[in-house]
Amino acid sequence: MVLVLVLALGDLHIPHRAPDLPAKFKSMLVPGKIQHIICTGNLCIKDVHDYLKIVCPDMHIIRGEYDEETRYPEIKTLTIGQFKIGVCHGHQIIPWGDLDSLAMLRRQLDVDILVTGHTHQFTAYKHEGGVVINPGSATGAYSSIAYDVNPSFVLMDIDGLRVVVYVYELIDGEVKVDKIDFKKTTAVTHSAY
């Protein structure tokens, strides 16, 4: 089976709210190990874009409200393996962080996995046949919405109809890993209409 690893991260807010990615994360993000990157936005500067490009050239990036580059798209959908994935920063979905409103977007984009950010809080919900993921803030940047944010990012291992979502969190200087499993019921089909 071909290994398909998808890195999902965002809300780094470099240099407005954080000086750099945590060193322990940087040492984990070795070039060549990851096949795709999904970025929820708010890098905010070109430096960070260039760094991520080295980690993996296939980068899908969405516009956050503080991003220096204004030409990133607001919404994007892509297919990786058997999964349709939708990405949006999340400041456009009100109320912020509300699961039902995010679920609405997931329905609208007709995707299996919806990745959003903005709240800086890691969440992963299995919700009526799909998954809604927020990889949190990779630098643990200040957020008006969440207090005491730990730096975090997500790695998705896509294997056929199954995806394992690993979340890496930096807690008190140590990297802790957790995971959730998700299996979808049907393969990707093209629209019947």
Binding site: P15, R17, I94, Q108
Partner: protein, 790 residues
């Protein structure tokens, strides 16, 4: 004519080699038939080729090497002759009958070698004889090669300690004496070359001299290899004699080379112990000698020696190495008035490296060196010389790398004074180096004083140093520069809130004079740093906070308001709006209603007056609605005012779809899940109906302008919102309403003149699936959804 040059030289060399080879052939024949007389005859003829004056040193060397090889065979023959009964002393006398002096002396040295080996006479006697006899050749090139030959054949026969040639009469003292004498004579010959020939060929002569220098230097190498030359002998005999020759020859080429040779060839511990003597020679050298390079190399060697092992460090202290070197450098700089800035800085740079290795704890030494540098540079204003500025950057970077802690550098009082002498460009380079150093070492705790000192050092990045001169800095480079300052601001932290506030005020003071180009980069990190402080203060017990404490959220918000105002000078209204909203949320968390209201007011003013771009407006309105939705601090009136405005803005966006989406987003302003007081079902419905009207209008417009209605996507979105509030328990949203909307959409989709939109179709489908899904869930949810027919 010498100008015929290389071609002729090659001819002469070829001729010389041919002659040499021919005579060698006959010599071999004589050797094979044990014919001593003929052997001597032909070897002398062969050696006569070396009498030539026509070859440059480079070519002469080729001839010499061939002769050397042949002489080895001859030496073997001589040895066999002595075994066959010929007395060595007779042989020694016999070779002196050779006609010309040069061949005579080469043969004599060769026999001398056999003589010493035979031990029939003390080595020292033979060596003395030979070294004196060689005086017969005063021609520089021929003499140097001859003496080099002597050195080569005698090398393994010196009466060193523990050698077989050591005896009662022969000691290492004699060995040393021999080598020193050879060295002295060779140096004299070498120097003499400088003055031969016409003035116009000076360059050519110097090049030729350069080719020969290793012949002279070899003697020093031999001295260093003699076992018996211990520290005492080095200090009392070798060094004084060598230095004497170096100083007295008054030749800058020789002086530079030999000083360097001494430093490289003898052990570092000897140098340490004879530092005084070595350094005192320096001012006595010719002014044109590049003494700074010599001293730099000495200091480099000593630095490496210090770095090699901690055990040698006490030695440095014992000989007071630092003060000796410091004084020596001072004297050299004083003596060479015309020394360019680059030279002086290089010297101080080497001394600094030395100090950092040997006395890392003596910050006063480091500061002293920087002070001496400042003194040398004073009166020169900003340096133009790029070599000098590069050296200064190296000088200033060294303490940063060594100590890995900006605090130490900040303690060096002369550090900023040195930076004053850099031109603006290099000043900025240095400032970047300082920032990089801080970024690498992340454990620094700052105080307001340290921050003040730091920002003084990096002022080149913080503001325009010269009012009139505007940097033609590349846009990319400028951004990188300012982003590094932004990152730096993130590093300035102190646990104590009072001190932290002082730090923030210090930073603020500096960045506010940065000008409109810099503010968009430097203000945001300061704002967020302040908001983090506010949050820390929130956590503190309100009772324990002292009355006089200046670090209160209220005071910080005041500061924040004034700081964001500064962005108006740029102007960057979109950024300012975002920052005002961030502050509003923070004020909300502190229960400061008037403060929060004021921030919203500022944000709204910016929206109305400054943000004209339609795309920017859409993002801005979403941020406003999203933030407002989370506010719990507002009383009814304030909330109403702000909500009313927000919905008004939403309805006035340029594009109808944007209007529609913003308006239905506003519906959430009337329904907040965690607060029962904000659950106004009626107004939610009003919003959604308004959204529907806009969606309708959009359809009609599309019809009128394009002939067919646009997609039903907006209707499906609004349907989903209906369902959202229905599920939340908004009694104003009835099953009938939902049903009706579904029918409306389905009818529209089937209508002929509606543009087919697969995305909208899929969305409707997944919405209906959702309703089904909820029906299957069981319990209260099922009951709710049951009536809806899909």
């Amino acid at each position: 004519m010498i100008s015929d040059g290389v071609e002729d030289e090659d001819k002469w060399l070829a001729a010389g080699i041919a002659g040499l080879q021919q005579n060698a052939f006959y010599m071999h024949r004589a050797l094979d038939s044990n014919n001593l007389k003929d052997a001597l005859k032909y070897s002398a003829q062969m050696l006569s080729e070396l009498r030539t004056s026509r070859l440059s040193p480079h070519k002469y060397y080729e001839l010499y090497m061939r002769a050397f090889d042949e002489l080895r065979k001859l030496e073997i023959f001589f040895k066999e002759e002595t075994r066959r009964g010929c007395a060595i002393i007779d042989l020694y006398e016999l070779v002196q009958h050779a006609g010309n002096i040069l061949p005579r002396l080469y043969l004599l040295c060769t026999v001398g070698s056999v003589y010493i080996k035979s031990k029939e006479a003390p080595a020292k006697d033979v060596l003395k004889d030979l070294v004196e006899m060689c005086r017969g050749i005063q021609h520089p090139v021929r003499g140097l090669f001859l003496r080099s030959y002597l050195s080569q054949v005698s090398r393994d026969k010196l009466p060193d300690i523990g050698s077989e040639y050591e005896g009662d009469a022969d000691t290492v003292v004699d060995a040393v004496e021999f080598v020193l004498q050879n060295f002295t004579e060779m140096n004299k010959l070498w120097v003499r070359m400088q003055h031969q020939g016409p003035a116009r060929e000076k360059e050519k002569r110097e090049k030729e001299r350069s080719e020969l220098r290793d012949l002279v230097g070899k003697n020093l190498h031999v001295l260093s290899q003699i076992e018996g030359v211990d520290l005492d002998m080095y200090r009392n005999t070798v060094l004084p004699r060598v230095l004497e020759q170096v100083v007295n020859c008054k030749d800058d080429l020789a002086q530079y080379y030999l000083m360097d040779c001494i430093i490289q060839v003898f052990p570092d511990e000897y140098h340490l112990q004879t530092l005084e003597e070595l350094l005192s020679a320096c001012p006595q050298l010719q002014p044109s000698v590049d003494i700074k390079t010599v001293l730099s190399r000495l200091m480099e060697r000593l630095s490496n020696y210090a770095a090699s092992s901690a055990e040698v460090l006490p030695e440095f202290l014992q000989v007071e190495a630092f003060s000796k070197l410091n004084n020596a450098i001072g004297k050299v700089i004083e003596a060479q008035v015309d020394m360019p800035a680059f030279g002086a800085v290089t010297l101080y740079s080497s001394l600094l490296t030395f100090t950092l290795h040997v006395h890392p704890d003596r910050l006063d030494y480091v500061d002293r060196i920087l002070g001496a540098c400042v003194k040398k540079l004073s009166g020169k204003g900003k340096l133009e010389d790029s070599k000098a500025t590069k050296q200064i950057v190296a000088l200033l970077s060294a303490p940063l790398e060594k100590y890995n802690n900006i605090e130490t550098a900040l303690k060096l009082s002369n550090y900023p004074r040195v930076m004053e002498h850099l031109d603006d460009g290099t000043n900025k380079v240095m400032a970047s180096v300082i920032i990089q150093s801080i970024m690498k070492n992340k454990t620094c705790i700052f105080t307001a004083d340290k921050v003040e000192a730091l920002f003084e050092l990096i002022k080149g990045l913080i503001k325009d140093l010269d009012e009139n001169l505007h940097d033609e800095l590349d846009e990319e480079d400028f951004k990188e520069e300012q982003n590094s300052v932004a990152r730096l601001i993130q590093m300035l932290y102190n646990d104590n809130p009072e001190e932290m506030l002082k730090i923030i005020c210090t930073v603020r003071k500096h960045i506010l004079i940065g000008g409109p180009r810099r503010l968009p980069f430097t203000v945001p990190p300061l704002i967020f740093s302040s908001l983090k402080l506010v949050r820390r203060l929130q956590g503190q017990d309100k009772d324990t906070a002292a009355e006089e404490a200046s670090a209160t959220p209220k005071k910080i918000f005041l500061l924040l308001n004034q700081t964001i105002e500064a962005l108006a000078t740029v102007p960057v209204p979109e950024l300012a709006l975002r920052l005002y909203l961030q502050c509003a949320e923070a004020a909300n968390d502190c229960d400061l209603e008037p403060v929060a209201y004021e921030f919203f007011t500022q944000a709204y003013i910016l929206y109305e007056e400054e943000i004209a771009d339609s795309k920017a407006q859409v993002t801005a309105i979403h941020l406003i609605i999203g933030t407002l939705q989370r506010m719990h601090v507002f009383g009814v009136e304030n909330r109403d005012t702000l909500t009313h405005k927000a919905t008004g803005y939403s309805a006035k966006l340029l594009k109808k779809p944007d209007q529609c989406r913003a308006v239905y987003a506003c519906s959430h302003l009337f329904w907040v899940d965690d607060q029962d007081s904000i659950k106004d079902g009626e107004r939610v419905l009003l919003c959604l109906k308004r959204a529907l009207r806009i969606a309708n209008a959009a359809q009609q417009m599309a019809n009128a302008t394009r002939g067919s209605s646009g997609s039903v996507m907006l209707f499906v979105e609004i349907l989903n919102k209906y369902i959202y509030f229905f599920e939340k328990g908004n009694s104003q949203i009835t099953v009938a309403a939902i049903q009706g909307l579904i029918e409306l959409i389905t009818t529209e989709m089937q209508s002929d003149n509606v543009t087919s939109d697969p995305a909208a179709d899929a969305f409707l489908a997944s919405t209906l699936r959702y309703i089904e899904f909820q029906k299957q869930k069981g319990g209260a949810v099922s009951e709710k959804y049951e009536p809806i027919k899909v």
